[in-house]
Symmetry: C2
Subunit: 82 residues, 2 copies
Amino acid sequence: MAKFMDVHHGMAGITEDQLRMAHQADLDLQGPEGVRFEQAWADPEAGVVYCLSEAPSKEAVQRVHERAGHPADEVHPVPLTI
Amino acid sequence: MAKFMDVHHGMAGITEDQLRMAHQADLDLQGPEGVRFEQAWADPEAGVVYCLSEAPSKEAVQRVHERAGHPADEVHPVPLTI
């Protein structure tokens, strides 16, 4: 298992409810991929969303996001964490 | 106080020690600006570093990073958090 930070662009205007629903969709779908989404942060003005997860691979993270209907634009392994 | 996610590019090859030292420099300088750096994540291969902070403004976050010698390329307010 490793840590990943993924980034979604083009989310301008996202609301708290929309972020919560998108995150819930990830949680509902993550089990079979062995992914655990931990935190999410959104800048509604710039339209950027960051998601932190623990997962077996970058591809697993992306598959969950795709199935939830919001593929990430970038998925970064972040082996260094403070 | 608000939450901010800032992003540094061009950090390819960053080591755990370098990340820790950079973060420590932020911690040493954050007091007068009222910033509190909380977490940091690095992808040494893509050369991207993400820093999460609580701060009075985006400018305050950037001033600390500048004084520490590593200005951020982006500083995003992230009012929506899960």
